[in-house]
Symmetry: C2
């Protein structure tokens, strides 16, 4: 069918053409199966290239029956059968626990096997028995044994490395018709459901489909989940794998897609390479198999069109066919909350969107659990996208993936010393220490906690969360409003960050922005001839202080990004210090990008940072037009604050006067609140109230 | 005809629709003709908006005959007739010499008149005589008189401000059928050809059509040249204005288009806003009138398509019509030299291109004259584009155009203290002083000098130029080769910069790059905890030193930009110091972008900086692929150097061994040269010889 349809479905044709081109290039070059020596270098890349060629050749053989492809797979696997038995632990392995033989870490080696198993499954009927024996006994089974025995802990672990491993072994099991291997993959090495794929399906995702490591690693982890699930569905349909746990894979698929930015990249929370996008091969696998096995969904066809390619498989074929038939509808990116934790009780993330084509606003409040080793200490961190751009940003990971000259493409030292630290994020650092002291075990005990997530009023969406004991006795609570109002040309953000403690602390709240600072209302003292760092440790050693200022009342600064201005106006008092910082200190190997930020610092037992983030105006350099370079908001004041509630006043041009009231106790949609301020007592009902009035 | 053709030619339809939309918005809002108070603020923008609406309404009336548009022009001009007589010198004027009445500088005021004159020409038959009298006597003629009398010096000046002024007055002259105004515009206020438009055509362009201020201001200056030329052609066809001076406007048009980068922006030499592109309204005017009046040129249709709009005029209509007819052919961007100076004897610029679609390489060597007040002190400066990106960059101007909160949108102080200084450019600064001491009068006496420009060998194009007395007794000569060779995946650049003097000097050669530094072969000492500046003045006060190193032999560093790596490998000796710098010191108002650079420093009487700039490898973050992060070139050595010639050896992977030989005396295509080095005597013929051999 696929063969007969060639020339009819553009996306599938392109996929086939790419695959044929890849294999033509492979046929033209001498086959190379080198002794592995490096991590991220030439032999590493060669073996990655090889597993891609294996898989591609297998799929092309299945589709065309052209024996050249089957021969290629046999020849290459025979070469591996020669090589593999001779390999000790990889010379670049950082430990025997994580080290592979073909690759410096077992993770890559499981990826090799996952691809090789698919290829072998396609062609093994065409391989002479003697060769089959050699391939199976010298490389495929020994590698599976290496995983299930030498790396049993990883195999049984509830972690993406475990998923890759069980999927690779399980798919080999189906290819070899080896029920024991399949059973170990599904139920753990002890075959007792204490581990394995089915338990991973239950433990690694929340009931909403959120994957605990965050969106970047979701993208990576979904590939074995979807590929192995497809294999299970093909071989053991009675398991109804795609219906498991209330169709969890269907939820995973949509949770992953919703966790992308307006530019199509994955939200860069936790360790994340910021360029990674829905165009990645793993996401193609997820979307195509998801479309094929999770009951369709014409909105997925639009995602596939954006990906520009499909899998070389029946799933990919059907996606291309239905897309060509004009069945696609827009993907419904929307505001939503995704709970974290196997039971959905470990916080989550709140995504607020305005999806009007001209705006593409996205706010992300992070109140998940720690997210394992790749998690960052950034409870209540905020990200903000507008015009399709990242306006308030997360650094992501300090890593140049696969770049040999950057520490072999591994995570760099500044990933720990900077990117994972609290001060690297748009949230509060207490007394210069990262949340939970930067201790993983402690942080894992304290997931963020949701308070409320309300989107019933599309002109005033809100999300609120809290984190307790980020420092001993310190409770943080943050409430974000995304407000649409005709007085503003684009949606504005209200950010109310409340800290409470019995003791006095130093609270630092950064806003890391993209763009060029245009002006500020505070009188700055700039470091123009020499420059020092903001501190000595916990990430502070990486920040140059460009200028400092002390506030009297509200602090306001404006920057230019793309065609728009952005201003933060933040309530302050005479004790508020302001630091204009730039990343890049303590970086002898030039690993960091020189990104700017503004940090508000207060010393208090309890305090409220109340800010408005306002996009405004227009800058059009080719037309030489600049309009409304000054924001409409002029002042932000905290009128009242207690454990009952917080009241913030926002004043601006043309008599703009808004009151934002947030309840601080247990969430309730209809509870009445009254909070006394200096000028008045403020009363409202519900979790949030926004009163828009004129002076 | 235009009216009848609506719906047939997409580009013209869009132009009409934009114009109608603009006027619909104008009709909906109350007309505003405020007393001018600011430079770059609300009243400034309002008057700019008004002249745009005037011109648009006039053109729409001419096309549709809809009387609403004529009424609009009359009403608005009547408002100006009320306002203008009351206006003193603009309150934000910086001097009576440059200050206007409606705008802070006369320049904007001439632009207003140029637009108003066009509008008035379209509608004046429909304005009652009494209103016409008031408009002409209260604003149009007084403004012309203000220019020809109060600003006679500017009016008669050979400068783009003069061109705007004579064009505005001349077009008003045609609209009023006032031969005296027209004659003053064409021949100067004394009507004796000692000034005026025709003399400007002779003096402001070189015989190759190069405009002396450089490409950014070319873009600005061409608009009055083409608009007034078109008006002259309509009213006095006997002057054959487009044939003047061997069709100089045709040459100007193509010189301007050739001086754009692969991204369509104007090469940012001298004071320049880097975003400015062929999409600008001035370039649309130039291309449309040029197409219509300079004998067509189907390649211009492709430029027009890229601009995405046409003029609302007969010229624009014909461009859109011919484009719709499928007549467009690719614009032939190519290597070429443009001489500077009215006689073509004041240096010039050399553009070397490889225009293959996948490469889009462009090298620019600047050896022009100073370029008047907006010129930079950057003799022999180098720019390099690849993948369509600026790889070795020029800062451009320090200015946020029309951004009120950045000094009213004017040039900022750092434009003088940084952007115009020599150290801000990819050329040599001698003893820490800008060329010619940064003195305009002295610099104007010393244009750069061409040596040779050779593109007959498409695999080895070259350009060479020199500059004398940039510091007393110091002679600089730079030769650039753009080499295509199958050993390299993309064209490579050889840069041989030779300095000679009788006395010892400090020579600093920067390479300002875009991208992220990946690695370097020199052992760096990084400033990780405190940071100081490279110097105290002449631009050095704006550079932070990030790290320093002392070389032993060749210096190499690699950075990543987009999908490619770039390496510079530069011959060095044990006296060569290396500074890794970043812009941003001495910048209390945050006016500078934090761009990185590497500066090579030598102390010698004479020396040669010999470098290879090599694009290499691939970085694909979504596919997680990195290939060839290390360059193929490993070493660069100067084998011999004398006044006769310089010989450079380039060594690299797989036995790569190139010899580059450059003659240093008077250029000659066939002269024989022999230069003795330590190992051998090197002989060749011609200006440049590239010998590509294996070890």
């Amino acid at each position: 069918m696929m063969q007969a349809a060639r020339g009819k479905y553009a996306l599938f044709d392109r996929t086939v053409a790419d695959a044929v081109q890849l294999m033509d290039a492979a046929f033209r070059s001498p086959m190379s199966v080198p002794v592995p020596v490096d991590a991220g270098g030439a032999t590493h890349e060669r073996h990655k290239q090889n597993y891609l060629e294996l898989q591609t050749a297998g799929a092309l053989f299945a589709m065309t029956g052209d024996s050249r492809y089957a021969t290629f797979v046999r020849d290459m696997l025979m070469r591996y059968a020669e090589l593999y038995p001779r390999l000790p632990l990889h010379p670049a392995a950082t430990s025997p626990e994580s080290g592979g033989r073909l690759f410096w870490q077992t993770l890559n080696e499981t990826v090799w096997l996952l691809h090789a198993a698919q290829a072998y499954d396609c062609v093994h009927d065409r391989i002479p028995a003697a060769d089959r024996k050699k391939i199976e006994e010298s490389v495929l089974r020994p590698m599976a044994k290496f995983f299930t025995e030498n790396h049993e802990r990883t195999f049984n672990r509830m972690h993406n490395h475990g998923t890759w491993m069980v999927s690779a072994v399980g798919m080999l099991g189906y290819a070899l018709r080896d029920e024991d291997l399949v059973a170990r993959a599904l139920y753990g090495t002890r075959r007792d459901s204490s581990a394995g794929f089915l338990r991973q399906l239950r433990k690694l995702f929340s009931p909403d489909g959120y994957y605990t490591e965050g969106p970047y690693y979701t993208r990576y982890a979904v590939m074995p989940f979807f590929l192995f699930a497809q294999a299970i569905d093909n071989n053991q349909p009675e398991l109804k794998i795609f219906a498991c746990r209330d169709s969890i894979l269907h939820k995973v698929l949509h949770a992953a897609l919703q966790q992308t930015t307006p530019a199509g990249t994955f939200i860069p929370m936790n360790d994340a390479l910021k360029e990674m996008s829905i165009a990645s091969k793993e996401t193609v696998v997820m979307v195509d198999i998801g479309y094929d096995r999770c009951g369709g969904g014409r909105e997925l066809l639009t995602v596939a069109r954006g990906q520009g390619r499909v899998m070389l498989s029946g799933s990919g074929f059907r996606v291309a066919r239905d897309l060509a038939a004009g069945s696609a509808i827009a993907y419904p990116y929307r505001s939503l909350e995704l709970r974290d934790g196997p039971d959905g009780t470990e916080g989550g993330i709140g995504l607020l969107r305005v999806s009007a084509e001209e705006e593409k606003t996205l706010l992300v409040l992070k109140y998940t659990s720690q997210g394992m080793e790749h998690g960052h200490y950034d409870r209540l961190g905020l990200l903000y996208y507008d015009q399709g751009r990242e306006v308030l940003r997360d650094y992501g990971a300090v890593r140049f993936i696969n770049v040999e000259t950057k520490n072999g493409g591994r995570y760099l030292p500044e990933n720990s010393s900077w990117a994972r630290q609290t001060i690297a994020h748009n949230t509060v650092t207490v007394d210069g220490h990262s949340h939970y002291g930067g201790k993983l075990a402690l942080a894992e005990k304290h997931p963020g906690q949701r308070r409320f997530f309300e989107t019933f009023d599309s002109t005033c969406q809100s999300v609120s969360a809290l984190a307790e004991n980020v420092a001993p006795g310190v409770r943080m609570q943050r409430t974000i409003l995304l407000v649409r109002d005709p007085r503003f040309s684009a949606p504005v953000v209200v950010d109310i960050f409340r800290l409470t403690s019995d003791e006095t602390h130093q609270y630092d709240l950064p806003f890391y922005y993209d763009g060029h600072l245009v002006n500020t209302t505070v009188a700055t003292s700039a470091q123009t001839r020499t420059r020092g760092t903001l501190g000595e440790e916990q990430g502070y050693q990486h920040l140059w202080v460009e200028a400092t200022a002390t506030a009297r009342d509200a602090v306001q600064w404006t920057w230019l990004l793309g065609r728009r201005y952005y201003s933060v106006t933040s309530a302050a008092d005479s004790g508020t210090e302001v630091f204009f910082v730039r990343l890049g200190a303590g970086d002898p190997a030039f690993n960091l990008r020189p990104e700017p930020g503004v940090i508000l610092r207060r010393r208090a037992a309890s305090c409220v940072f109340a800010s408005v983030i306002e996009p405004h105006g227009l800058f059009e350099p080719v037309e030489e037009i600049s309009r409304n370079a000054r924001p409409a908001v002029q002042d932000v004041r905290v009128l009242a604050d207690s454990d009952e509630g917080t009241v913030v006043e926002i004043l601006g041009d043309d008599g703009l006067c808004w009151h934002v009231r947030v309840a601080n106790g247990n969430p309730s949609r209809d509870a009445a609140h009254a909070v006394a301020g200096q000028r008045a007592t403020y009363v409202w009902r519900g979790n949030v109230s926004l009163e828009r009035k004129a002076h």
